[in-house]
Symmetry: C2
């Protein structure tokens, strides 16, 4: 199965068209403006000198490059001369300031010049990965290849130093990203040595395990993903974005080389991630310290980290997994991330962002811990415009801008519909209000291949207006009507976490279709933490401004004045609970937020 | 109401006789040995010189003095020449090394000599308080008054510097304790100026609020209890032991001076403590940082601090509260502390101690957080023999050794039985296996006063073999039989916490009589955190080695393999849950421990 690139599918309506409209009207400029304010764009001029303010940071380039990538996706469907001019200006500066050997990094070109390629942790190869992705996207959107050519010269420099000469004091990127980017560069340029370099880095990760795990804190041990060879991995560990970018590169290499040993490692890592270490929202990386994956089933709510970039990188890995294992379960995961833990990272107006995403906000808890120097970190309760480490804003920009890449894939004989959004492609058009409801109309245009449609794992009952056969989570359509109508029943469900998730024991999350709901204090009552949903409660949908409906139900809330009472004396009030989609939380100020509710 | 001193009641059998036997056979020597190993006793020789190892710590004296106090209580009922010899040797050293003006502190006499009485935080007045309590107890047990006299010379020195001259750079003890000790010294010596000095310190606490709350961490603000005058206090804040020792001194002064304004402040502080900030075990001070009280209802389980000394100091305050407010609710609190959160601080063999007492142990949680430099602190999972700051071991020694002081109090016309333990006094004998069962036989000897017996607040049904009238939680006996039989029904109860205790929402604690139960991993199954007790479940008592019975019941445990499942698909296993008294936890190695269970 090969994925159909974002450019092969055009979104025509619905949830994601709205989201992309917000990118165009707000996000792209908002991120650019904040990156300008914070000197990320001017850093590329390479005029900083010792003693000047605003020394360029080692990974600022990656922010700019990711912005370019996201904007390039938008340029593909609609031109914007201002954005093109910015990218051309960046190209000029990149070309003007890159070293004779192709090297570019706006920090090491002007500061710490003798530290070039000296430390694995310095993000130079990570930044190059994002330059590649940005340059490729811009080239594919506009045909302009100056940036791409300049970036290729940097790649050539890296190939020489890290592969031919092995002259740097480290071999593999401290922060994976370059690996998957090189595969992309190979596909765009046709230059096989770029793929070979990607495979080289994948093979070298932990190959010598040259750095024995330092006696540092737990998550640090696996931070650089160099503690063991990739094919030996049984679980996903360490810095979550690094782990999932590495996994994405591993999958790309496994697919292109038919490396079953590598593919098996990828499957183990993905399964450990999604069956042991993933929030119900698709958020991953629960630990603040090391921005890391934690032990199996340790998914704390109030102190969740769940970086926006980590959710996006899980979707990226899921999208690739289906290319080595023809199974709808990967698109199920991508869907979970798409409608929950990724877009929670951006405000509804498209201008503010979460880096860490809360999975419970208890303002009382935050108050107690606010002044405690050793407090467990808790996520911010309101989005902000920019971060010191501001990787997430341009990442969510490029993710949503290229979301149509999640819709289709094809094998030699079949076209697969993996995600449902109103869209057009050479193969078929899709008309749907999904996930507002579960009705999907597919109009087939070409019929050179058979059609398979994903049956979402959350769906227990559906109808398809054609004969089909179920296999690996897909309905393979056996007939060849022009139009296929699908109805996925989309009742409100209570979802339970595995009993090993101790924090959520006795609690249930409210979901409808792929959307996780939450209740916010601003809509509800104090002490939502103690509210009890009856398993047989009636739920009512009502329209909301979130494209998908909101939900109301009645819950029980214990009445009590005493600190401790005999349980038999406790009486309950019936109170109305209002739930909104999780992705829409924290758009109206700081408030309690609760996903997991007690149930009876 | 005046409390009958420990020496007025002799324990003859049962729970506390066993406990005191352990003190005699193990604890007193174990604490002495560890304090000897750690140079606390040899420090009194005052031979340490710059460059020597083991510099005496500023509060080591208090450890020795508290050991003397505890051992003195034991000497009162049974002589022990070895312990007497140790105390005589300590007396010799105190007298030999105390300064001409009476000053004594084994740190400041040999190190930082120019720092004497320079900083409020240096514990010199705190140590003096404990010297007083130790000397008084030793004098009352043995008639030996050399130590008492020497300590009085130190008190005279303090009176001169802090009250007469006001020449120290601070006025009140940074760590309260001296105040309540001075009241005790007045009672023993009859010297009114000692009471006046106690009242002086109480009045001066925060009188000038001379130190504006520093811009420090939250609990630090109230650390020294000097942020406002005592009569203005509305809540209990800051370092929990300091707050409750101060409260004890405040109550003593309020009682002796009939100061209603001060008594009202005491009532407010006590109510805030016990109705908002107390664990179900009577543990208090939930925050590690500052060893402090937290916000109302913030009583975290896995990270509970709940210092053993804090529980003891709550019992001390409760014991005093009944002397200004004739109500059984104070003895209810003392009882909760006595059978739970205090004695959890000492191992069943009497040789090991907890400083912080866990209210939930989830070894998985501890594992995840073990290496996290910013982790929320979690309590030790096994008791240890001695701490660097080892205040708790001698504190639990003196608490249990004088536990009979909690039994009786009297007003002008009534004798009150506040706690039930087999015991003898001039007034009456008590025969009972309480809290193993609820049967109590009282044999009245004198009948010069009426009798009132506490009806424990946990008891919903009881019988008394005499006519009585209920008032303020006491049954006032209206007849004058020689023997009164009381039966308190003692069913197993499920207890709910206020809904504002978010951590325990939807959960219940198992109690029987005053005893809180817990389940340990070693007796049970993994993921106890997810076990659900049915409200109508049958509970079975069975004999245990803990004097009170253990409990068995059947609980439901969700079965599930997937990380997330629809709640309607979740099936439950029925499994047997074994509960032991909370005070007995962690006597068999590190193990999960759970007090609060989900219920249906």
């Amino acid at each position: 199965m090969r994925n159909t690139d974002y450019s092969g599918v055009r979104i025509t309506d619905g949830f994601w068209l709205e989201r992309q409209k917000t990118l165009r009207e707000a996000t792209a400029d908002a991120v650019y403006d904040r990156f300008t304010d914070t000197h990320r764009f001017s850093a590329l001029e390479c005029t900083w000198r010792e003693g000047d303010p605003h020394m360029p940071h080692i990974f600022w380039d990656s922010d700019v490059a990711k912005w370019i990538e996201g904007v390039a996706y938008l340029l593909k469907t609609e031109d914007n001369p201002k954005w093109r001019a910015i990218i051309e200006r960046v190209t000029d500066l990149f070309i003007k300031n890159q070293d004779a050997d192709g090297y570019f990094n706006s920090h090491f070109l002007v500061a710490e010049k003798d530290m070039r390629f000296k430390e694995r942790g310095n993000h130079e190869l990570y930044c190059l990965g994002h330059w590649i992705e940005g340059a490729v996207a811009y080239f594919e959107a506009t045909g302009e290849r100056r940036l791409l050519d300049a970036v290729c010269r940097f790649v050539d420099c890296v190939e020489r130093i890290f592969k031919t000469e092995r002259s740097a004091p480290f071999i593999t990127p401290g922060h994976p990203e370059l690996e998957l980017a090189l595969v992309r560069l190979w596909k765009t340029t046709g230059e096989a040595r770029y793929f070979d370099l990607a495979k080289y880095f994948i093979d070298e990760h932990g190959a010598n395990a040259e750095e024995p795990p330092p006696a540092q804190t737990y998550p640090q041990i696996f931070y650089n993903q160099d503690d063991m060879p990739v094919r030996a991995r049984k679980t996903i560990e360490g810095h979550s974005v690094r782990a999932l970018y590495l996994l994405s590169g591993m999958i790309d290499v496994a697919r292109e080389t038919n490396d079953e040993e590598l593919a098996d490692a990828c499957k183990r890592m993905f399964e450990n991630c999604t069956e042991r270490k993933m929030y119900v929202t698709g958020g991953v990386g629960s630990l603040d310290d090391g921005e890391a994956f934690s032990d199996d089933y340790y998914l704390p709510g109030r102190t969740s980290y769940a970086e926006t970039c980590a959710a996006i990188s899980l979707a990226m890995a899921a999208l690739r997994m289906q290319t080595i294992d023809e199974n709808a379960k990967y698109a199920d995961i991508a869907e979970r991330v798409m409608y929950n833990g990724s877009i929670s990272g951006i405000s509804l107006d498209g201008k503010k962002f979460f880096y860490a995403n809360a999975h419970e906000i208890d303002l009382d808890f935050n108050h107690v811990n606010k002044y405690n120097p050793r407090h467990d970190r808790f996520p911010k309760t309101e989005r902000v415009e920019v971060f010191t480490c501001s990787c997430c804003p341009p990442n969510i920009l490029r993710f949503i801008a290229s979301i149509s890449g999640y819709v289709l894939s094809e094998s030699d004989d079949t076209v697969f519909v993996n995600q449902y959004m109103s869209s057009e492609s050479d193969e078929l058009d899709v008309i749907t209000r999904y996930p507002a409801d579960g009705n999907v109309l597919i109009k087939r245009k070409k019929k050179s291949k058979a059609l398979a449609v994903r049956i979402p794992s959350w769906c227990r009952s559906f109808e398809i207006s054609a004969e089909y056969e179920l296999k690996n989570g897909y309905a393979f359509i056996k007939s060849c009507e022009d139009e296929i109508k699908i109805t996925f029943d989309m009742p409100i469900r209570l979802v339970s976490a595995n009993r090993r998730c101790h924090e959520n024991a006795g609690r249930a999350a409210v979901m409808r279709g792929p959307v996780v709901y939450c209740a916010e204090g601003i809509d509800n009552f104090k002490d939502m933490q103690a509210a009890v949903i009856d398993k047989s409660a009636e739920f009512y949908l009502y329209d909301s401004e979130f494209f998908v409906p909101s939900i109301k139900t009645e819950v029980k809330l214990p009445k009590c004045d005493a600190l401790y009472s005999d349980l038999e004396d406790v009486e309950y009030d019936s109170v109305s609970l209002k739930l909104i989609p999780y992705f829409a939380y924290a758009n109206r100020g700081s408030s309690d937020m609760q996903i997991w509710f007690l149930h009876s």
